[in-house]
Amino acid sequence: MAANSYALRTGSAPHLRPVTQPSNKPGLLVGNSFWYALHFPGLSQEGYVQPIKDLAALCLSVSDHIYIPGQDVLAIDVRSSLRLFGGMRGLSRTLRPALQDKLKQLQLPVLYVEAASPSAAASILLSQTHQNLLISQREGLRSVLGSIAIEHLMLDKKIKKRLAGCGLHYLRDLWRLPAAALRLRFGRELSDYLSQLLGEQKSSLPRWHERLVFEQSITPDAQAETPADILVLAALLLDQLNAFLRKHHKTADQLLLGLTDVRQQKLSIELSTRHPVRESSVWLMLLEHKLQKTMINSAITSVSVLCSHFQDYCPGGAHPAQSRAQLSGSDKAAPDLLELLSARLGKDAIFSIHHEEDYDPAAAGNYQPYEHIQAIKPSVKAPRSRGFIPAGKQPCLLLPTPMRLTTRQQNPVYLSPLTLLQGPERVETRWWTGQDIQRDYYVARNLQGMRLWIFRDLKHSKAEPDTRSCWFLQGLFA
């Protein structure tokens, strides 16, 4: 890819003094990246963390690859942006008004130092040493950096002290020494840093990502008095959210809808989907069901939407939920059935059936909120048994807590006297917890034809032999 002529002429920019002769030497973009560093002296004091992020956010208009190596310096990979902005000069000119406005807004000195080179470390060092330079060729780095004092390097103080002790005060002193000897004597950190400065090695800087937050509110002229009014207002905000998600290639699986009434009381409604979505129609449908359940006592003056958790957009058909929808031929925009149900009934009203390997029937089978299911993909295969098979046949319906049965002539009764058909089957477990279980289980039948799973509590019968019944109903063979 050839650099455009404007980019190659950037060396003539008045504030960027050309060192080599880029205008005559094509190949500005020979390397993989070209780094533009901005140093803000006003942010050097400690405590300024957020301003540099605000400034970085402004730089997103010229490149997505932004790095924050320190609280007063930014490094931007602008290689792929040079053609669009007409070279370094055009890019710098594009950024300048926004940066100056932001610095004024932050009440900081409207001053910053720019430097650009094929090396990130070199650009940062040049900007930090207040050298407005544009170095277009990697070969030119060595001579330009040679005059920089070692005390300015981003190195450990001990290494700097050792270098000074050896009479090495400038980078040019180091250039004269063999790299292998430097590495042997001063360690890997120094040699790696020098390689980075010369563009021979990539800098390992963590890329900065802007934290996305969508927060919008709307205050209508007329107060919203019915759920339909609220839905109309919410639809406007959700359309904005949809546009926001499309812009950032994101999807969301939860958002918070805030309602403020005339008494300035705030009500928050949390909407969440099982799979991340973009479509505002899904959120609206969930909101409609939520509003049916929500008691709104007074008119609503303001509606807001806050969404701060995002996931990367998954192209159509790649998501398990979408593929399942396609499998069943349903509308893509339709929400998952369980999401729809949980929107009205509540998240804690839909359960999946859990299966534990335990001899205590109550502990072996219980419900769990459906969201705790690990597999998103619908499981076609049955869970593989790991060898645990409950001894004897157990009923499909179980009482949450065993129900004590009355007795007639020491025989258990449930609606009518019970006839024991099978049993006993002894279950003794949980002795290590102090709440041990000692039961004899029977299959019984009453005169109505009901087949029941009952047990005789041995522990209880020993403790209270004659006072109360020791027969309990545990389940029903439906």
């Binding site: 399942r324 929808a325 499998l327 069943s328 031929g329 349903s330 998952d336 059935l337 369980l338 729809l340 149900l341 009205r344 009934l345 009203a349 839909i350 359960f351 999946s352 059936i353 859990h354 299966h355 534990e356 029937p361 072996a364 089978g365 219980n366 419900y367 459906y370 299911i373 597999a375 619908p378 499981s379 076609v380 295969k381 049955a382 869970p383 048994s385 098979i389 409950p390 046949k393 157990q394 009923p395 499909c396 319906l397 179980l398 009482l399 949450p400 058909l421 039948r445 109505q448 034809g449 009901m450 087949r451 029941l452 389940g475 029903l476 063979f477 439906a478």
Partner: protein, 256 residues
């Protein structure tokens, strides 16, 4: 004038004659029908499409009763297949199961169906079962419990009905099992329409039968004494079947 010996004096013969004269009189009329009492039986004698074989080999059958094709699948019990029009459970629609008492084997009756449906991609929804479903027992019976979701009995009646309707309308749900003490005809009709829309099978467990129910199938279950060899039995009475006039009662032996 009435001739006592005339064969047309018998009501069946009169109906047969009417059927011959007016082919579209009965909804269950079919060219192969020769007798009213056999109207329903021609369902079970239908040829099985070789492509429609489910996971466990139970064939799906399509009756050609009228323009509305009714698809059925085997119940897993040959006696019940013979009783039901179409030779099995309908693959979609609403089935009402009426039993005055619980725990007489109503779920055992559906086990082969549940086993098959739970292994399909669509999920199984249990709405307000009277007691907690016991996972190990269901898994032991071969039901894929990972594909099953439960709305517990504490749910309010209107929410439960709303959930049944939404689940029946959804194509993500393969089967809905719901327990309600009693539902009116209008509600049943609405649920039946939802099931038709989503092509989903819904099974409603009642304690009292709904008169003139628009459900696809209405069965009444009753407890029966155990067989001589100690096997559990259940009495099944076919109250109503959509598109059929068949009625009957059998005693079914349930697997151990």
């Amino acid at each position: 004038m009435i001739f006592p010996d005339s064969p047309l004096n018998k009501p069946e013969d009169k109906v047969q004659q009417l059927l011959a004269e007016t082919p579209g009189l009965w909804r269950g009329n079919h060219p192969h029908n020769t007798s009213v009492t056999h109207v329903g039986r021609q369902y079970s004698s239908r040829s099985v499409s070789p492509g429609l074989v489910d996971l466990f080999g139970a064939p799906e059958r399509h009756s050609e009763l009228d323009s509305h094709s009714v698809s059925t699948q085997s119940t897993g019990f040959s006696a019940l297949d013979q009783l039901l029009p179409g030779g099995g459970w309908p693959t979609s629609g609403l089935v009402e199961i009426v039993s005055r008492h619980k725990a007489i084997g109503e779920l055992q009756l559906l086990m082969p169906l549940l086993r098959m449906r739970s292994h399909q991609p669509q999920s199984l929804l249990w709405i307000t079962p009277p007691y907690q479903l016991h996972g190990p027992a269901l898994a032991q019976s071969g039901i894929n419990i990972r594909n099953s979701f439960v709305i517990p009995a504490q749910t309010r009646c209107n929410n439960a009905l709303w959930s049944i309707e939404k689940a029946l309308q959804s194509t993500e749900c393969g089967m809905v099992l719901a327990w309600q003490n009693w539902l009116g005809g209008r509600v049943i009709r609405r649920l039946q329409m939802a099931a038709s829309e989503g092509k989903t099978l819904g099974v409603l467990f009642h304690q009292r039968p709904t008169p003139h129910s628009p459900a696809t199938l209405q069965l009444e279950l009753s407890a029966a004494p155990d067989s001589d060899d100690g096997h559990r039995q259940i009495g099944i009475r076919l109250l109503r079947a959509k598109g059929s006039h068949r009625q009957g009662e059998i005693r079914l032996r349930l697997p151990g």
